[in-house]
């Protein structure tokens, strides 16, 4: 499946950060594959996330100091890097959520005004 396929949603700039933070906040420490799988489940495959695009987001968030990666072992005893959200990350998540809500609300209002249905 390519991301241009019909029905799939293109990610808005910056929303991936929010989604990853939210996932880690609610699910605890996760490795990259788990995050990718989880996102596909939640979006019911609407959001087709290329695995390769996840890594830049993880690097960015780690450089902001919002998440922290630690090497660990999976249940099947394979090594994996587990990412968990930090204190600063939780604070940032709250702010991002507020910002997103404000933004989404604004767009919603504009859409209702322009196309009264």
């Amino acid at each position: 499946m390519s991301s241009e396929e019909k029905g799939s949603v293109q990610l808005l700039q910056g929303t991936l950060d929010l989604i990853v933070l939210r996932t880690l906040a609610s699910m605890g420490a996760q490795h990259a594959y788990q995050i990718a799988t989880r996102l596909q489940q939640v979006s019911e495959r609407l959001l087709n996330l290329n695995q390769e695009t996840l890594y830049p987001a993880l690097v960015r968030l780690e450089q902001y100091g919002w998440i922290k990666g630690i090497w660990g072992r999976t249940e099947s005893n394979r090594e994996a890097k587990y990412y968990s959200i930090t204190k600063a990350g939780e604070k940032a998540l709250n702010q991002e959520v507020l910002r997103w809500r404000a933004m989404a609300g604004l767009v919603e209002r504009l859409l209702i005004e322009d196309f009264p249905s």
Binding site: H31, A32, Y33, N50, Q51, E52, T53, Y55, P56, V59, R60, E62, Q63, Y64, G65, W66, T74, S76, R78, E79, A80, K81, A88, A92
Partner: protein
Amino acid sequence: MKYLRRFLSKWMSQLRKDHAEAELIREINAHLALMEEDFLGRGMSTDEARLAARRAYGGVEQAKQLHRDERSILWLERLSRDIRFALRQLRKSPGFALTAVLTLALGIGAVTSVFSVVNTVLLKPFVFRDPDRLVVMREAVGEARGERTAIPVNYRHFLRLKSTATTIEDAAIFAQLGVSVSPNGDHPELVGAVVASPNLFHLLGVQPTLGRSFVEADADKGAAEVVLRSYAGWQTLFGADPKAVGQKLRIGGDPVTIIGVMPPEMRFPQIALAQKIAFQETARNAMLFEPLVPSARDLTADMGNFNYKAIARIKPGVTLAQAIAELDALQNSYTISAHLPFPFGIALTPLTKDVASGVSGALWLLFAAVGAVLLIACVNLANLQMVRAVNAERETAVRAALGASKNQLVWSRLTESMLLALVGGAAGAGLAYAGVRLLLALVPPDVPRLDEVRVNTPVLLFAAGISVVAAIAFGILPALKSLRVHPQAALQANSTRTANTQQGHRTRNAMVATQVACTVVLLIVTSVVVRSFQI
């Protein structure tokens, strides 16, 4: 805050590049292994699972590159890549690199040396307070054909003007002479001295670093003789002894007391007695300042005794023309009412202009001449770079075909020019140290402020700036040429043919024309410079 943090960790990852890279590979491998395991669990065979995992993951190499772009400082990464590339290219043709660096070093060195003189003599302001309002005052006498000649100032005339003129705030009168000094009864030395009205330093707005300045009482008849010394004088005559103030000194046999030392940055301007008349002046480098005690002749003689130089400070808001008009009229009416045999007037010139007058034109011409030399060097190098760009066309074509953007192509060629120019510029700055010494030996010694000329920070900044400008000047055309390379055509053709295309011809003709034009300008300028220094 978060950006600062990110910036710092980017630098960290830049410094620990190998670590970051190893970490990335480990993580991607772990990711692939987990996916494989997942697919195995769904009943695939080992090989199928491996392939499926790779497919699902996407491009591993692309992922790595995305990761690198995200974690590192992109421009730094690109810059270091371009520099490494340029160094490799230059190492392949050391002859060209050496020629380019030497040519640039000579060009930049010459321009920088002349600039250091221009900067000091023509551009650098004096350390005096509001130097723009300082003017040199001279008397003017009418001659046949209506021309007027400036002559030195008569003391009596000066006093009258100072007390009556309303356009000037203050004025000081002084004379320069050589005096013999013996610091502690040793063999006497001849040094330059300025005998000035006590308000001179107040007028200039300079305070001594040690001791006190003159007061009006110092110029009274019979007052104890006192003297101020310049910083250089303090160092050469007294070995920078901090206890020099208050000590006695013999000037021409008379004991005088040292009352202060002037700051090091104050150098007394070399003002000519008259602009067009040559006077033999001894010991121009002022080391001592004495208060001027007017003699009986100074106070009474209206004719003759035109022995002084004068500096005036124009009142704020008054233009030079207004001041000249007032002083000239005052002097004119005085000469008529006092029945002097000649009509006298007053000429004022701004201090900065007066000090540099006579040489400013020649200096600018010299600057233009070395500028033309640098320009010719740049055109030549542009020509060489052009040939290199044509030779490298296949390589450029390959890079373009592999996906290098136009920006990257231009930058990587321009980086080579920048590198050459910076090395050449550094060598040129080194040459400038020697060049300045050579220039000082060549130019006539009466060029003012020559003793202040040196290669300093502004001059070095100028050299750096001119290097970058030169790099762009000789690098931009060849660099832009790589944009016109069509990968397919270039890969098929052999390089000797492309060198002879119509396009290459036109650019080269233009460059030859520029070079000829520059040479002609250089020749004209050189002959004018030679003439102006001979007169």
